[in-house]
C-alpha cells in the first residue's frame, strides 16, 4: 500500500507542481489516481496467484502494482529472472540492473515493476507496452496483470471471456474484472454479468460449472463527479445487482475496502467458489478516493467534511496503527519502510524521466513504427490435437449432402446448377470452419442461435452433431458480450469465431469491435494478439435496420482486417486465412450470396486451402472500363458487362475480396490499360471505402485516367424494405448508365436507371 501511495503521490506531484523528489518533469499524460483505495487493490492481490488474471480500469495503477508485487512475492528467483529476461529482449531488466541495482532478484523485480509502469506512462520504449499504452492501459501478463481499460466497464466482458477460456482449458485459475461502481451503469457490464452465469454452463456443458470470473467492483461512491448511490444509480447498495442474477445472487457481498485483510479474506473465499464451478461472484468493495477523478478535478461535488471523515479511516494509517498496536511493527520500523519506499521511488522516477536511460520508442522519423505494430501479420498453428468429434463427420447429414454436390457451379452442358446440387458460398464458409474446428482445439464457435439452428442462415448446420457445447454454443442476444468475451478468450489462447447475425448489430458491439478488438495488438506492443473472427451477414429486404453494408465503417477503424467474399471458392479460402490469422478479422457475408454457386473457377477445392488477404481478383478480363466491385455488386456488374458487350464496350471486372489489407497493384495495372474506373459497392456513398479507393487510384494513376473515377454506391438514405430496393442498391442498368454517361461520355445515351441526381445539390441538403 505504501508503494502504491508513494507512486501515485509522485505522479500527482508531477502533474500539479512539475516536480517530485529530485525530479523536475512535465508529465503530459493522464493521471487517474486511486489514492485512498490501496487496501482494495492490495487485499485482492494478496489472495490471487500469478495464474489468476486481473483486467482493470483507467484507475488501475494500484491494482497493477499490487498484482505485480504479489506475483513477485510468489514467484521463485529463477522464474522471475526468466520472465524479466524474456520481456523485450531483456532491455528493461538491463536498465534496472544498471540504474536501479539491487542485491536480490526480488528487489530487482520490484524496480522492474515500478520502472516498467512509469516508463510506460512516460511513453518510453522500455515501458511494459513499449509506450503504446500509457497510464490507463499499462499491463504485464507474466505477473497476471492483463489489460487495463480506459473505457469504463469494458474489462467486465473481456475478463468474462478470459474466464471462458480458463474453463475450456481446465485451468485452476480465475479472471477478475476490476472496474468501478460507475461501471454498473454500463450496458456491456450487465451483458457480461449475464453471460458469465448462463444456465448452460451447468446444464449442458460436459465440464459443468459457471465461468470462474470475479466481478470486483471498486466502489468509491463516485463515477467521475456523479454520486452513484443516491444520485446516478437505482441501487442503494452495489452488491444488490446480484439479486437479478442467479438464485445465489452471485454470492454478492459488500466488503470493507479500507481493510486489506477483509478484502483478501473475501477474495480468497470467492476464488474457491469460482474454482468449484459455483461462481460467478460479485464483490462490492467500498473504499474512497481522496484524489480527484483526475488532476483537473476540483472536487466541486463533495465536501471537505466528507473527505476528512474518510481520511480518518485512511487504509495506510489505520493498517499501520493496527500493526503497531498488535506489536507486529514498531513506529521506527514503519518509518524506515516509508523512507525505503520513497528512496526507491525517487530513483525510479529519475530513471524513467531520463531520456538517456529510458528513451522514447524508436518509431523512425516518419512515425511509421506505430504502423508496424498494428497487426501481428502472422499465423500460429495449433500445437494441440482437437478432441474427437461426437460422431463420424461422414454420417452428418450436411456433410453427406455436400459430398453429393457438384464442386463446380455448372453441369456438363454449362447450365447453372441449383444450390441444392452444387457447393454454395454458404457451404464454402462451412467447410473452412468445419476444418478449423476439427483440427484446432483453440477454435470455439458461438453467437445467437449458432447451435441447433445452425446459425440464422444455416452456415453452421451440422456442427451441433459434431461438437459439444464448449466448442459450439448459443450466446444470449448480447452482441457486446459476444465480442468482448471473444477478445478475452483470444487473449488467453483461444480462437473464437463469433457471429453477429446482421452487420447492423455492429452498433451493439461498437466499443468492443472498434476500441477493443482493433486496438489491443498495438496497445500491448505485441504482448498480446487478438485472433478473433467476427462474422456479420449483410441483409436485404428487411429494411433500414437489417440491410446495411457497414464494411466501410469497419474498414475506417485501424487494426481490423476486413474481408467480403463474393464466390464460394473465395469464401472458403478467405475464411481459412481468417481462421489461421493471429489478427482480428471481420467477415462480411451478403445474405443474397449464400446460395451462389461457383461460376468463376472449375470447382471449389474439397481440401483446406487459403486465399491471401488483400488480393483483388480479376473475375472477367476486358479492355475499355475497369469495374471494381465490393461484395455482392460483382453480380450486377457481370450482367452489365454482358449487356454492354452488345455495344462493343468491354468491362474488366475486379472483385475487391478484401478491404483491409488491399493491394492496389491489380487496379492500377487495369486502369493503365482501360483509363476508366467505376467502383461499385452497396455501402452509402458518403465516406465509403469505395471513395477511399477512388481517391487513391486518382492519385496514383492520374496520368492514365481518361475520366475521373466514378463511385456507384447507395444513396445516403436509410435502406428501404422489400420491393423498394431496386432504387437503392446498384442495379445492372445503373452500372451501364454510369459507364456510358459519366465514364465514356456517350451522348444521347438513354438512361435506364433512376440515378439522375445532382450530387452537389444533394450534398447541400445533407443527402
Amino acid at each position: 500500500m505504501m508503494v502504491i501511495r508513494a507512486f501515485e503521490s509522485g505522479v500527482a506531484s508531477l502533474k500539479s507542481k512539475g516536480s517530485y523528489g529530485d525530479l523536475t518533469y512535465a508529465y503530459k499524460g493522464p493521471a487517474h489516481l486511486s489514492i485512498g483505495q490501496e487496501a482494495a487493490a492490495v487485499g485482492a492481490a494478496m489472495a490471487l496467484t500469478p495464474d489468476d488474471h486481473i483486467f482493470g480500469s483507467h484507475r488501475s495503477h494500484g491494482e497493477f502494482l499490487a498484482k505485480g508485487l504479489a506475483a513477485i512475492q510468489r514467484l521463485g528467483d529463477n522464474a522471475l529472472t526468466s520472465i524479466m529476461e524474456a520481456h523485450g529482449d531483456g532491455a528493461l531488466l538491463r536498465t534496472v540492473e544498471t540504474h536501479l541495482p539491487d542485491e536480490t532478484e526480488h528487489g530487482l523485480a520490484e524496480s522492474f515493476l515500478l520502472l516498467g509502469l512509469l516508463a510506460e506512462m512516460f511513453m518510453r520504449e522500455i515501458g511494459f507496452n513499449g509506450g503504446m499504452g500509457g497510464s490507463m492501459h499499462a499491463f504485464f501478463t507474466p505477473f497476471g496483470a492483463y489489460p487495463n481499460n480506459a473505457i469504463v466497464g469494458a474489462s467486465a466482458g473481456i475478463a468474462t471471456g478470459a474466464a471462458l477460456w480458463m474453463k475450456s482449458d481446465c485451468r485452476e485459475s480465475i479472471a477478475v474484472s476490476m472496474v468501478g461502481d460507475g461501471a454498473t451503469g454500463c450496458g456491456p457490464v450487465w451483458e457480461a454479468l449475464n453471460f458469465a452465469g448462463m444456465a448452460q454452463f451447468e446444464r449442458l456443458w460436459d465440464n459443468a460449472g459457471f465461468l470462474p470470473v470475479l466481478f470486483f467492483f471498486t466502489n468509491n461512491f463516485y463515477a467521475m463527479g456523479g454520486q452513484t448511490s443516491g444520485e446516478t444509480m437505482s441501487w442503494d447498495r452495489l452488491a444488490r445487482v446480484g439479486a437479478g442474477l442467479r438464485d445465489d445472487a452471485y454470492h454478492a457481498e459488500t466488503v470493507d475496502g479500507t481493510n486489506p485483510l477483509a478484502v483478501a479474506d473475501a477474495v480468497q473465499r470467492k476464488r474457491q467458489v469460482l474454482l468449484d464451478g459455483k461462481g460467478p461472484a460479485i464483490l462490492d468493495v467500498e473504499c474512497y478516493r481522496f484524489s480527484g477523478h483526475s488532476t483537473t478535478d476540483v472536487n466541486a461535488y463533495r465536501t471537505k467534511d466528507e473527505i476528512a471523515a474518510w481520511g480518518a479511516v485512511d487504509p495506510i494509517l489505520t493498517y499501520r496503527d493496527s500493526l503497531v498496536a498488535e506489536g507486529i511493527l514498531d513506529t521506527a520500523a514503519a518509518d524506515a519502510i516509508q523512507s525505503e519506499v520513497e528512496a526507491r521511488m525517487n530513483a525510479v522516477f529519475m530513471a524513467a524521466a531520463d531520456p538517456e536511460i529510458a528513451p522514447p520508442p524508436r518509431l523512425g522519423n516518419d512515425g511509421a513504427g506505430i504502423g508496424r505494430k498494428m497487426f501481428a501479420g502472422s499465423e500460429t498453428p495449433s500445437d494441440g490435437h482437437a478432441p474427437e468429434p461426437m460422431s463420424d463427420p461422414a454420417n452428418v447429414a450436411r456433410i453427406r449432402q455436400n459430398a453429393r454436390k457438384s464442386r463446380g457451379g455448372r453441369d456438363a452442358n454449362g447450365e447453372l446448377l441449383s444450390p441444392l446440387k452444387a457447393i454454395t458460398l454458404r457451404d464454402g464458409l462451412f467447410e473452412a470452419i468445419l476444418h478449423a474446428a476439427l483440427t484446432d482445439p483453440r477454435v470455439v464457435i458461438y453467437g445467437e442461435e449458432c447451435r441447433e439452428w445452425g446459425g440464422a442462415f444455416g452456415v453452421y448446420r451440422g456442427l451441433a452433431d459434431l461438437f459439444p457445447h464448449d466448442r459450439v454454443f448459443n450466446a444470449p442476444i448480447s452482441e457486446a458480450a459476444i465480442v468482448a468475451t471473444a477478445i478475452g478468450a483470444a487473449m488467453e489462447g483461444g480462437r473464437p469465431v463469433v457471429e453477429l447475425m446482421y452487420a447492423d448489430f455492429i452498433g451493439r458491439a461498437g466499443d468492443e469491435l472498434f476500441n477493443q478488438l482493433a486496438k489491443w495488438q498495438a496497445m500491448s506492443n505485441g504482448l498480446l494478439s487478438v485472433p478473433v473472427v467476427v462474422r456479420c451477414s449483410v441483409g436485404s429486404k428487411y429494411g433500414a435496420q437489417h440491410s446495411q453494408d457497414w464494411s466501410g465503417l469497419a474498414a475506417h477503424v485501424p487494426g481490423l482486417k476486413i474481408i467480403y467474399p463474393a464466390t464460394p471458392r473465395d469464401a472458403k479460402g478467405l475464411m481459412a486465412s481468417a481462421l489461421a490469422s493471429d489478427d482480428p478479422v471481420i467477415v462480411f457475408e451478403s445474405q443474397r450470396l449464400y446460395d451462389r454457386v461457383e461460376l468463376f473457377q472449375d470447382e471449389v477445392p474439397e481440401g483446406n486451402y487459403k486465399i491471401p488477404f488483400g488480393a483483388p481478383d480479376i473475375k472477367r478480363a476486358g479492355n475499355d472500363v475497369t469495374v471494381l466491385t465490393i461484395g455482392p455488386t460483382l453480380y450486377p456488374a457481370l450482367e452489365a458487362a454482358d449487356s454492354l458487350a452488345g455495344h462493343d464496350v468491354s468491362l474488366e471486372i475486379i472483385d475487391a475480396r478484401s478491404l483491409v489489407p488491399f493491394d492496389y497493384g491489380p487496379i492500377l495495372d487495369s486502369v493503365a490499360k482501360t483509363g476508366r474506373l467505376l467502383l461499385v459497392s452497396e455501402a452509402c456513398e458518403r465516406g465509403s471505402f469505395a471513395m477511399t479507393l477512388a481517391t487513391n487510384v486518382t492519385r496514383f494513376a492520374f496520368d492514365a485516367l481518361e475520366a475521373p473515377p466514378r463511385v456507384l454506391g447507395c444513396p445516403n438514405w436509410i435502406v428501404p424494405g422489400a420491393g423498394l430496393e431496386q432504387g437503392y442498391f446498384p442495379q445492372p442498368f445503373d452500372i451501364e448508365d454510369a459507364i456510358l454517361t459519366d465514364l465514356m461520355g456517350v451522348t444521347g445515351h438513354d438512361r435506364k436507371g433512376s440515378r439522375r441526381w445532382d450530387d452537389l445539390a444533394l450534398a447541400r441538403s445533407g443527402l
Binding site: Q401, P419, G458
Partner: protein, 79 residues
C-alpha cells in the same frame, strides 16, 4: 375414405425449392397424423415433414435426391 396430399410447404420467401433426403415411410405404410414421413433439405435447414392425416400411404410421388418446388405433391395418404 378420403385422399389427403402431402405437399412441399412454404418455408418463407427465401426458399423456393428443397431436396428429398429420405422417405421414412413408403407406400402401404400406416401413418398417424403428425408422424414424420419424409426428410427434406433446403439451403438453410434439414427438416422432417409430418403426415397431414392418419391413414395409409397410398403413393409416393418423388424420389430421394429429387429437387422439388414449393407446392409439389410428395405423397398421398388414404384416410
Amino acid at each position: 375414405m378420403a385422399r389427403v396430399e402431402l405437399r412441399m410447404p412454404e418455408l418463407g420467401n427465401e426458399i423456393t425449392e428443397a431436396m428429398i433426403d429420405a422417405f421414412l415411410k413408403g407406400a402401404g405404410d400406416k401413418v398417424l397424423e403428425g408422424e414424420e414421413i419424409v426428410t427434406i433439405t433446403t439451403p438453410k435447414v434439414t427438416m422432417d415433414l409430418e403426415a397431414p392425416a392418419t391413414g395409409t400411404v397410398l403413393e409416393v410421388l418423388v424420389e430421394e435426391d429429387d429437387i422439388i418446388a414449393v407446392g409439389t405433391v410428395l405423397a398421398v395418404i388414404e384416410t
